[in-house]
Amino acid sequence: MNIEFEYIMILPVLLGAMLASALLVWWERRLLGWWQDRLGPNRLGPFGVLQVVADIVKLFTKHDWVPPFSDRVIFTLAPTAVVAGMLMGFAVVPYGPGLYIIDLNIGLLFFLAMTSLAVYGVLLSGLASNNKYSLLGGLRSAAQMVSYEVFMGLSLMGVVMLTGSFNMSQIVEAQRDIWNCIPQFVGLVIFLMAGLAEMHRLPFDLPEAEHELTAGFHTEYSGMKFGLIMLGEYLSLILTCAMTVTLFFGGWLGPDFLPPLVWFSLKTALLINFFILLRAAIPRPRYDQLMSMGWKILLPLTLLNLMVTGALALWMET
């Protein structure tokens, strides 16, 4: 892999991620409408696709208000931390054989590092807003994301054990015979739940639960800063799905009649739809339920999964 090619890859990945998250705003509303037996945005353009353009124009032209009581510098910088962290995470995703920005030998750890940095966007925006709803939302998200990060990382270690590497391309290659979702089913379920808590979408959107916290950490945000926070959330949805596909569903592997990139995109899109369905189907748990489920059920289960996987891996080797 020469350096020039890596630079060329950056632009399509950036554009693709941005475009996909913009389209997702419309797609999510449309799907939710369909599942909840209503229409959703269907007026502007074919099937309402141009609603995206209208939304973006609205975000750009809205009054971008910075509250006078806030910590101006941090308030302005916090939304960029969300988006920057998520976009960095896309660098290690293998989109096809040889199609990646960087092939790090610590690819998986890099992804975990970048998602853990994205927490700061939420935390700092809650702190800098100087508003009690924002502060409570920020506190909640800090506790939630730090707790779920613990076994998000641990749940992936089973995959690492089976592959013997943190390298994303090697993890995909190791799934030629059998996708990791079968031997690592427990890991997959835990990773999906942890991912859901990390991207704090419904049903785990307690940092911004509107019935109790107005809008949580982004109560004070308006205009394009709010847009950036939303963009970060959609990016994290796409990134988590892309990672799940890479780690558990064979990445770009698939029968030969479609090119690898198409397989990868199809699987990711399917998984994104699954997450949207979860949003429509499952009610939000109470905050203490979420935390105690994390520490008392998911963490021991992850450790057990890790132990069994390790024992089996050793047994198979001898």
């Binding site: 910590d71 941090i74 790090l104 030998n105 610590i106 750890l109 890099f110 975990l112 590092a113 853990s116 940095l117 927490v119 700061y120 935390l123 700092l124 809650g126 702190l127 800098a128 502060l135 920020g138 506190l139 800090a142 506790a143 994301m145 730090v146 990060e149 990382g153 943190f166």
Partner: protein, 171 residues
Amino acid sequence: MEIVLFYIAGSVSLIATTLVVTRTNASHALVYLIISLLSIAVIFFMLGAPFAAALEVVIYAGAIMVLFLFVVMMLNLGPGSVAQEIAWMHPRMWIGPAALTLTLFFELVYLITTQTAVTSGVPVSPKAIGISLFGPYLLAVELASILLLAALIGSFHLGRRYMRSRREETE
């Protein structure tokens, strides 16, 4: 090229660390500390220790600093604490730390001028770290985990007593 990157990351970490000490607003100081840790991770990466770099970001910047920030948010420090901090930042306060730091600095300069480079820049793979951690350094790993377990049990015990007294109050 690499030496330029090294000096950029190094100076970023130096400036950020200085700012951590001199900031009066606790949350600003924490943000600079995060930046300092990230630049140190970049230095680790360039020295050929990508695993250490990743752990620096995941654990220090991603988890421990989040908890620090969490505490700062819980304390809800206002302008009062900034004023207090300014009062503490009296020039006389700097004499002791400056003397100690200078001692270390001279020692460092002496070591750099007399010794040959200790960092040969050999890349260390994650596997090699795992093998050395669970081989020659197994005892240290076990001791560290016992310490963490003790801390865990201790905080659980304290928290349970607090919850019990709260429950009795409400009853």
